[in-house]
């Protein structure tokens, strides 16, 4: 929540919010990672990359939370 200058109406607008688009769009682009190879620890790409997207999601939402609180 941005408090803003005194007298300014409060709002939840912030350029940082655009960062939230990344973890929303990335996991939905299945054509980018719908493959078996390369494998990581036995996991096909399709699985380990989507698990890695969790970290992308956590990072982006944490940054937005910190920058707008």
């Amino acid at each position: 929540m941005t408090t803003g200058e005194p007298g300014q109406p409060r709002t939840d607008r912030s350029p940082w919010n655009w960062l939230l688009v990344l973890p929303i769009v990335l996991p939905l682009l299945t054509f980018l990672f719908n493959a078996d190879e390369p494998r990581l620890l036995g996991f096909p790409l399709f699985y380990w990359l989507q698990i890695a997207f969790i970290a992308v999601g956590v990072t982006c939402t944490t940054i937005v939370y910190r920058m707008t609180k």
Binding site: D12, T30, V58, T61, V64, Y65
Partner: protein
């Protein structure tokens, strides 16, 4: 039952410990009086980050998830993994939406999504439509939690309905007494058990089966041998669109369920919600690993329990896998985790359904001047009735039918999105347009679900959520999530309807919320203004 004694003893002991906690919860963070909806139904709206994390997490990741998602992966492969992107997408998606909902609810004392719609669009009819949609979508969800417990009991060789009735009677009693405090407290135990079980499962089972590579190879081999072109360990050309729309559509639907909002509104301030939106994905990791239990079951050659009707119940696949590979005592712990995993969400869902009935039907239509104590009383009794209804769903209907109802539930709850979620951002829609869109979306959704067969169990209708685009005249085998398409119909009709109602100058409802109400936080004088009658 022989051979399952150790499992059963561990299961029953843990179950009873948790039940005792449910009763004690009434004294936890004790209010002066629990006889109001804010206390009974929202725990005094004073939960900090930790409790909210467990509560919302306990609410979204249910016993049915633990049972059904791996069952889907076991049967269909990659498509079942949609549950992971779904829970990655959802938190950034609702990050801003939920903080707005929290603020406006705190200014006006809203307890349900329908409360908000009533105030925003000035239409009791639209609010009633939203309330009934929420109730209808939540009921089968509660029934499904019973399916989760039933799968565990079946795997221990216990058939018959009496154990489930007893389990739900205990649940009903402590929810009645403690309200939202009961699931909030139990959620700690539930999560601790689930994290332990899953950590052990993903370390121990692959080691026993020869590593993750072997597991995926075994699954790939099984799917290559089946005649179904839509299964496999990666997506096929026909189900990519289904995967994406199912993940996205489910994410859009998640926080429209009244019970997900219950946990959010109970939090103390906006930052608690934001912090949780970045911390909750820890559950997504667990969910992804749980989904992969389906592949482990393939590699281990696990067979599901065959029911009295001669059909295999794939919902028992994970319990059977545990039974096969874990020592008895740990299987008991795992079963207790699933069983308790059913109680937390079932309690929150029944509270949310009860709040919907109390606020948007009882108070709106039956007793306009209800006192706080009367509201709490009605909610408590409704929560009991909702649970009896859920048990009856399982006893009187084929459980498979409850699963179909849940599928329909997801499609219909999505139809509240324009009024509830978009309503938080814009007052552009006309109340008549929203009602028309809601009706059109429901009709389109039902029509599509009706057309979907399930070859696996020979059903001609309501056999899944994958709607063939061929039905619309496209020359393709591609499928799309029916709920997503129905939502598009809803939005188009709502927009056209709004333009039409404006053109004919049909009166619109009044909006009693103000722009600044959507951004207030804890400490603002308006937030303390929780006089329930003020918003009506």
């Amino acid at each position: 039952m022989s051979g399952h004694t150790t499992e059963l003893v561990v299961f029953v002991v843990l179950f009873l410990v948790v039940s005792a906690m449910g009763f004690v919860a009434a004294r936890w963070r004790r209010p002066e009086s629990i006889e109001s909806l804010h206390e009974w139904g929202l725990g005094g709206r004073n939960f900090g980050s930790w409790i909210t994390w467990f509560l919302v997490g306990g609410d979204l990741y249910t016993a049915y998830t633990f049972v059904a998602v791996p069952a889907l992966v076991f049967g269909a492969g990659a498509l079942g993994f949609y549950a992971l992107p779904y829970t990655v997408v959802v938190y950034p998606l609702v990050f801003l939406v939920l903080t707005r909902m929290w603020s406006v609810s705190h200014v006006h004392g809203f307890v349900t999504p329908a409360d908000f719609v009533r105030a925003r669009f000035g239409s009791p009819t639209l609010a009633l439509a939203i309330a009934i949609t929420g109730l209808v979508a939540t009921m089968p969800y509660i029934a499904l939690q019973l399916v989760g417990i039933e799968a565990v009991l079946k795997s221990m060789g216990i058939t018959g309905h009496l154990p489930i009735i007893i389990a739900f009677a205990i649940l009903a009693a402590y929810t009645y007494q403690s309200g939202l405090r009961a699931p909030a407290l139990i959620a700690f135990v539930k999560d601790a058990l689930i994290y332990i079980v899953i950590l052990v499962a993903v370390l121990y089972i692959p080691a026993k089966l020869g590593g993750w590579g072997t597991i995926f190879d075994a699954a790939a081999k099984k799917f290559a041998a089946t005649p179904n072109p839509a299964d496999g360990i990666t997506l096929t050309s026909t189900n990519q669109l289904q995967y994406v729309t199912l993940a996205f559509g489910s994410a859009l639907a998640l926080f429209l369920y009244p019970h997900s909002l219950t946990g959010v509104l109970a939090s103390k301030n906006r930052n608690v919600i934001k912090r949780n939106m970045s911390a909750l994905p820890a559950y997504s990791l667990v969910l992804g690993l749980i989904a992969l239990l389906g592949f482990m079951a393939i590699a281990a050659g696990t067979k599901p329990v065959v029911g009295a009707n001669g059909k295999a119940d794939t919902n028992t696949i994970v319990p059977m896998l545990f039974d096969q590979l874990f020592p008895d005592w740990f299987t008991g712990v795992a079963y207790a985790a699933i069983g308790i995993g059913a109680l937390v969400p079932a309690a929150i869902m029944s509270i949310a359904a009860a709040n919907l009935f109390t606020r948007n039907i009882y108070r709106e239509y039956l007793n306009k001047h209800a006192t706080d104590a009367q509201e709490a009383k009605v909610s408590k009794i409704t929560s009991l009735l909702v649970k009896v209804g859920a048990v009856l769903c399982i006893l009187l209907l084929d459980p498979q039918f409850s699963i179909d109802l849940q599928l329909i539930g997801g499609v219909i709850i999505l139809q509240t999105l324009p009024a509830v979620a978009l309503g938080l951002y814009t007052r552009w829609f006309h109340k008549g347009g929203l009602l028309a869109g809601w009706a059109a979306g429901l009709a389109a959704g039902m029509w599509m679900l009706y057309l979907i067969p399930n070859p696996a169990n020979g059903k001609a209708h309501f056999g899944g959520s994958a709607f063939g685009l061929a039905n619309l005249g496209f020359d393709t085998k591609m499928t799309i999530y029916a709920g997503f398409l129905a939502l598009i119909v809803n939005l188009v009709v709502a927009a056209l309807g709004t333009l039409a109602f404006r053109a004919f100058k049909v009166a619109d409802g009044a909006d009693v919320t103000k722009r600044e109400h959507y951004f207030v936080d804890e400490g603002d004088p308006r937030v303390k203004d929780l006089d329930l009658s003020a918003s009506h």
